[in-house]
Symmetry: none
């Protein structure tokens, strides 16, 4: 399990973005927000956009410089919108989140100014850059949206990857499925939809269909109920 | 390679969220925005928050209902903040993005109202739900932030090597599926299996079943052929 993770916003211009970043963090289980020389803070726009994450704003550490905001951190990532002239180790958000998750010490993710990002001097405090793979023709990611993506990846890294759950409660067993197919075929013949002398590939196609769906017990009962009802009408 | 992907916002209250969603989409290379009965649109707040993604707002399709917004779609995911009483197939954002990437037809991701999400009736139009794994104690994800997470996963899926497609040749579009469900319901009433005065959740269960299976055109034709044949017998 990782140590605490902090989000550091360097010199944010719009207080609304601070609030939205706090909300993004809290939805993903993060709570430690550090602000380096914010233009306006505290501010009503920050509280409005925090929308229930006000506790992160109240507890935010406001710092005079980046060094102070990074105090005690063992691993620092810097969010970078574009490739730099300066070569620097770079991670995808997923790689960075996994590294952060595996780190025993405190970890910081640093986000730069809305319009100009981080300076080279600030980047030099980072162990690696994190690059969110934006469209090359429109890479103008909102500050809080960038925090949301990183916080989301951090949350995924902290959770075990859940297996796909298809909503099936009690999958029907193969024998029940066979009885359903037999019942279906019998009914299709009775209503004259399937000609046993010229079946083409009808039952095969229907088997493929119901094989994909993975019916549960309840669904088999519903479908067989329908078939029985159709048969009753034929006997009249 | 996947078909076009559209983002559908159902009845959004705050125009700022529409603009922020457009910006989130464009950063991740998505361009098709559909709006179902937005409270205020067009609106200055939408344009302000779009911040360079105004073209998506100009080209947004404004629809009177969800069916219209899903017209032509072969695969529909509904964003869901919480677990429902009724079980429905569920995907993680990553799983959904990979499925969308593997689908030959058009794909929609549907996002509900800011405060109340999607209704059960709206969810019934979705093949599966997508659940962004928020912190259980604070799951109040901003609408545009949710769009950002999904758009980010879609971009990752599009950057990875092409996915194996799911074997469905010509997935039926949403309108054909709706006509099938209407035909099914009509037939179930005619044979006395479904009591309109006491429908319980029968049609919802059948929608769930056929939503999971993702019918192709040919299969819809077979199933409707069966229904027509049953109806002929009733008229005799």
């Amino acid at each position: 399990m990782h140590g605490p993770i902090r989000i550091v916003l360097v010199n944010p211009t719009h207080p609304g973005n601070i609030g939205a970043a706090a909300r993004a963090m809290k939805t993903m289980g993060l709570s430690r927000l550090h602000l380096v020389t914010p233009e306006h803070f505290p501010h009503a726009d920050a509280s409005a956009r925090a929308s229930g994450a006000d506790d992160l704003l109240v507890n935010a550490a406001v710092c005079d410089n980046l060094e102070a905001a990074l105090s005690g951190c063992a691993l620092v990532f810097g969010a970078s919108a574009r490739h730099r002239r300066m070569e620097w180790p770079e991670r995808t958000p997923r790689q960075a989140a996994e590294e952060a998750h595996g780190c025993i010490g405190e970890v910081a993710f640093v986000f730069g100014r809305e319009h100009s990002g981080l300076t080279n001097q600030e980047l030099a405090h980072c162990n690696a850059l994190v690059h969110i793979p934006c469209d090359t023709e429109f890479s103008s990611l909102n500050l809080a949206a960038a925090v949301q993506v990183i916080a989301y990846e951090l949350r995924l890294a902290s959770l075990e990857s859940p297996a796909a759950h298809d909503g099936v409660e009690r999958p029907a067993d193969a024998a029940a499925i066979e009885r359903f197919h037999a019942h279906l075929e019998e009914t299709l013949i009775a209503i004259g939809f399937l000609d046993p002398a010229n079946p083409r590939k009808l039952m095969q196609r229907l088997r493929r269909l119901f094989g994909r769906v993975r019916l549960d017990d309840n669904e088999v009962n519903i479908l067989r109920g329908v078939l029985t009802q159709v048969q009753k009408h034929l006997r009249r």
